[in-house]
C-alpha cells in the first residue's frame, strides 16, 4: 500500500483510499478497499455487477458515508459526511442516471443547488456566461442553445452537460459513472474525447465502465473491484485486456489480485 502511494513519477494522488469498509446491514459491500487516483490521469474503475463500484463512488461522494478506513484528498485525511462535504473538497460525480432535471435548461442544471445571486435575485447573466465559457472551454460544439431544456437533448448531449456541470465547479476530482453506457458510437466518441480533455486540463478523473475498449482507450490506470475487494490498482500499461477480464471475473490474474484463499473466503 505505502509502496503504491510512493510510486515514483506520479506525484501526490488527488484521492487515496486506505482500508475502506462499508456495510449495508449484514451485507459488507466494501472490504478494505484501497484506491489511488492522480491529477491529470484517468483511472478506470472496473468490476462485475455487484462488485461495489457504485457503492464506492457513493462513499466518495458522501451519499453513503464509509464505516471505517481513511480517505485522503490531496494527501490530507478528510471525512466526507454528505454531498456538500464532497463538493466543498472539489469532488464532482456524474451519475449513471445523469442527475439532471429534465424540466430545467442547460444553464439552470449546471448551476443547480449553487445558483449565483444578486441579493436575493438569481444572477442569470453571470450564470449563463459562465456556462457558455465552460462549454466552450471543453470544446462542446453540439449544443444548439444553453437555454434549451435538458429534456430536448440527446443522450450524448446530456452526458456532456453533466460533465460540464462538474467542470464548472473548478473540481479537482471528477467521477464518471458509466458515462458511455447508453450512447451510440459517435456520441461515445464525443464523451471519451471529453473525458480525455478533462484529464489533460489537470483534473483527476475516475471513470467507471463495463466497456473494456473504452477503458483501454482513455484510462491511465485501472482499478478492478471483485466482490467488494480491490483486486488490483495498477497502471494500464501493466495489464492487458485478458488480465483485466480475469481480474473482474475471478479477482486474480497471475501475480495480481486477491490471494486465492481470500477469494474462496469471499464466497465464490
Amino acid at each position: 500500500m505505502s509502496a503504491l502511494s510512493t510510486r515514483p513519477g506520479e506525484g501526490i494522488p488527488t484521492l487515496e483510499l486506505r482500508g475502506v469498509n462499508k456495510s449495508f446491514g449484514a451485507v459488507q459491500v466494501l472490504r478494505d478497499v484501497n484506491l489511488l487516483a492522480y491529477p491529470g490521469k484517468v483511472t478506470a474503475l472496473v468490476g462485475d455487477n455487484g462488485a461495489g463500484k457504485s457503492t464506492l463512488i457513493k462513499a466518495i461522494a458522501g451519499i453513503h458515508p464509509i464505516d471505517s478506513g481513511e480517505i485522503l484528498f490531496e494527501g490530507q485525511p478528510v471525512s466526507i459526511g454528505g454531498p456538500r462535504d464532497a463538493a466543498a473538497l472539489g469532488i464532482e460525480v456524474v451519475y449513471q442516471d445523469l442527475a439532471l432535471c429534465d424540466n430545467l435548461d442547460v444553464v439552470q442544471n449546471m448551476f443547480l443547488g449553487r445558483e449565483r445571486h444578486n441579493g436575493v435575485i438569481l444572477d442569470e447573466v453571470s450564470m449563463e456566461q459562465a456556462a457558455r465559457d465552460t462549454l466552450t472551454r471543453l470544446s462542446v460544439r453540439t449544443l444548439k442553445s444553453v437555454r434549451q431544456p435538458v429534456s430536448s437533448l440527446s443522450g450524448g448531449q446530456r452526458q456532456t452537460v453533466a460533465i460540464a456541470k462538474a467542470v464548472l465547479w473548478e473540481s479537482k476530482l471528477v467521477i464518471l459513472d458509466e458515462p458511455t453506457a447508453a450512447l451510440g458510437v459517435a456520441q461515445t466518441r464525443q464523451v471519451l474525447d471529453l473525458v480525455r480533455r478533462l484529464a489533460d486540463t489537470g483534473h483527476c478523473v475516475v471513470f467507471i465502465s463495463h466497456n473494456m475498449i473504452d477503458v483501454f482507450e482513455v484510462a491511465d490506470r485501472v482499478a478492478a473491484l471483485y466482490l467488494g475487494r480491490m483486486a488490483a490498482d495498477v497502471p494500464i500499461t501493466d495489464v492487458d485486456l485478458t488480465r483485466v477480464v480475469e481480474l473482474i471475473t475471478a479477482g486474480r490474474s497471475g501475480d495480481l489480485g486477491i490471494e486465492s484463499a481470500t477469494v474462496a473466503e469471499a464466497g465464490v
Binding site: 442516471d97 430545467l104 435548461d105 443547488g113 442569470e124 437555454r147
Partner: protein
C-alpha cells in the same frame, strides 16, 4: 400575466442569441425564428397558456352569443372577475404543490378553517380586522407546516395526508362555527375587499403603473441580454408581449371604470379592491418562483427530486415550505370568499372549492405530473372556471348540468396535460 423568463416553458420562443459554438441562434433572434421555435414547442407538447387563452376566448364568444344582453355588460364582467378571485388565489398556492408533483386535497377546507378563524375572532372576540386576517394567515401557515412535515419528513404520500386532513379540517370548521350556524362578517374592510372599489382615478394610475413597470423590466432584460451576448428573444416579440399586457390591463380598467349600476342614477364604478390584491400576489409569487433560488429549487425537486438532492438542495425543506406557502394562500383565498359572501358557514371551502382550484391550475397549464407550471396559470385557469360558472348561471342551467359541464372541462384540461406530456416524451421536448 407576469412575464418572466427563466424557468421552463417560458412564453414564446426562448431561444439563444448568436455566440460562439451555440448555433440555432441566428434563426431564433428573428421574428420568423421565434415563431417557428414557438410552434416547435407547441408541437412538442408544451402548450403553455394556449389552452387557457383559447378557453377564455371560446367560452367568452359562446356566452356572448347565448346571452348577448347580459354577459359582456360591465356589471357581469365585474362579477365574473370577483368570482375568479377566490379560485385564483387558492390555485396560486396549489401551483407550487403541483410543481412538486404533490397534491393538496385539503387546501379548500383549509381556506374554510382559516376564514372561520377570521370570522370568529372578529365576530365573537371583537378583534380588529388586521389582527384577524393576520391570525387567519398564520393559521394557514401553521396548517401547511403540519401537512408539509407529514408529507416531506414522515414521507406519507400527500394524497393520503391531505385526504385525511380534508375530513379532519371540516370537523374543525364545524366546531368553530357551531352546528348548522353561520358567522357573519361585517367588518367594512374585509367585506370591502370584494364588495367595494377603488376610485376611477386610482384605477387608471394603478393600470398605467403596472404597464410601465412591466415594459421597463422586459425592455431592460432584453437590453442586458443583448449587450452581454446572451440568449434573448427578438425585440418584436418583447414589444408584442408588452402590448398584450397593456391592452389587457388598460382594457379591464376601462370596463371596470364604466358605471355598471343597473339604475343609471346610481354610481357604481371602479376596480374592486380584490383585483389589485390578486395582481400583487401574482407578481410576488411569480418573482419568488422565477427569480429566486427557492423557486428554482421548487422546479428542480418537481423535475427530479433525486437529482436535486444530489445537487445539495434540501429537498425536505423545499417541500415543507411549499405546503406552508400553499396553505397560507388558501387562507387568503378563504378570506376573499368570506368577504364575497359576507359570512362564513360550516361548509365554507368544502364542496367544489378545491376541485375548481386544481382545475384552474391545470387548465392554466400547470402539469399534474410536476415540474411544469407558472403562477399565472392559476389566474388564467381561474378565469376559465369563473366564466363557466358565471355563464351557466346566466343561462340558468339546471344544477345537474352545471356539475356535468364543469366536470367535463376539468377532464378535458387533464387530458390535454396528459397528452402534452406523452407527446413531450415522444418528441424529446
Amino acid at each position: 400575466m407576469a412575464s418572466s423568463t427563466t424557468p421552463p416553458a417560458a412564453d414564446l420562443a426562448e431561444i439563444p442569441a448568436p455566440q460562439s459554438g451555440f448555433e440555432g441562434d441566428a434563426s431564433a433572434s428573428t421574428l420568423g425564428g421565434a415563431v417557428s421555435g414557438y410552434l416547435d414547442k407547441v408541437r412538442g407538447g408544451d402548450l403553455g397558456a394556449l389552452p387557457a387563452v383559447a378557453g377564455i376566448v371560446v367560452l367568452g364568444v359562446l356566452f356572448t352569443i347565448l346571452r348577448s344582453q347580459t354577459f359582456l355588460k360591465p356589471l357581469n364582467i365585474t362579477n365574473l372577475l370577483v368570482q375568479a378571485v377566490a379560485i385564483s388565489l387558492l390555485a396560486m398556492g396549489l401551483v407550487f404543490v403541483l410543481l412538486l408533483g404533490e397534491i393538496d386535497l385539503s387546501a379548500g377546507v383549509v381556506s374554510g378553517v382559516c376564514a372561520a378563524v377570521m370570522a370568529v375572532t372578529m365576530a365573537r372576540h371583537d378583534v380588529p380586522w388586521y389582527w384577524a386576517v393576520l391570525f387567519a394567515a398564520a393559521t394557514g401557515a401553521a396548517i401547511g407546516l403540519f401537512t408539509g412535515v407529514l408529507v416531506a419528513v414522515i414521507r406519507i404520500p400527500s394524497f393520503v395526508v391531505t385526504l385525511a386532513l380534508f375530513l379532519g379540517w371540516q370537523g374543525v370548521t364545524l366546531k368553530l362555527i357551531g352546528q348548522g350556524g353561520t358567522v357573519p362578517v361585517r367588518d367594512p374592510v374585509v367585506v370591502g375587499l370584494t364588495n367595494s372599489s377603488m376610485s376611477v382615478v386610482w384605477g387608471w394610475i394603478l393600470a398605467v403603473v403596472v404597464v410601465v413597470l412591466y415594459a421597463a423590466l422586459q425592455l431592460n432584460r432584453w437590453r442586458v441580454q443583448r449587450t452581454r451576448g446572451l440568449a434573448s428573444q427578438p425585440l418584436i416579440v418583447v414589444v408584442l408581449r408588452i402590448v398584450v399586457i397593456a391592452v389587457i390591463a388598460l382594457g379591464i380598467t376601462a370596463v371596470l371604470n364604466v358605471n355598471r349600476a343597473l339604475n343609471p342614477n346610481f354610481q357604481l364604478v371602479g376596480i374592486p379592491w380584490a383585483i389589485p390584491v390578486v395582481v400583487v400576489l401574482l407578481l410576488a409569487l411569480t418573482f419568488l418562483l422565477n427569480k429566486t433560488s427557492f423557486g428554482r429549487h421548487v422546479y428542480a425537486v418537481g423535475g427530479n427530486s433525486e437529482a436535486s438532492r444530489r445537487a445539495g438542495i434540501n429537498v425536505t425543506r423545499v417541500r415543507v415550505l411549499v405546503f406552508v406557502l400553499s396553505s397560507a394562500m388558501a387562507a387568503i383565498s378563504g378570506i376573499a370568499a368570506a368577504s364575497r359572501l359576507s359570512s362564513v358557514d360550516a361548509s365554507s371551502g368544502g364542496g367544489n372549492t378545491l376541485l375548481y382550484a386544481v382545475g384552474a391550475a391545470v387548465i392554466g397549464g400547470t402539469s399534474l405530473f410536476g415540474g411544469r407550471g407558472r403562477v399565472r396559470d392559476a389566474v388564467l385557469g381561474g378565469l376559465v372556471i369563473a366564466i363557466i360558472a358565471n355563464g351557466l348561471g346566466l343561462l340558468q342551467v339546471a344544477a345537474y348540468l352545471n356539475f356535468i359541464i364543469t366536470g367535463a372541462v376539468l377532464l378535458l384540461a387533464a387530458s390535454v396535460d396528459a397528452l402534452a406530456r406523452r407527446r413531450g416524451a415522444a418528441t424529446g421536448h
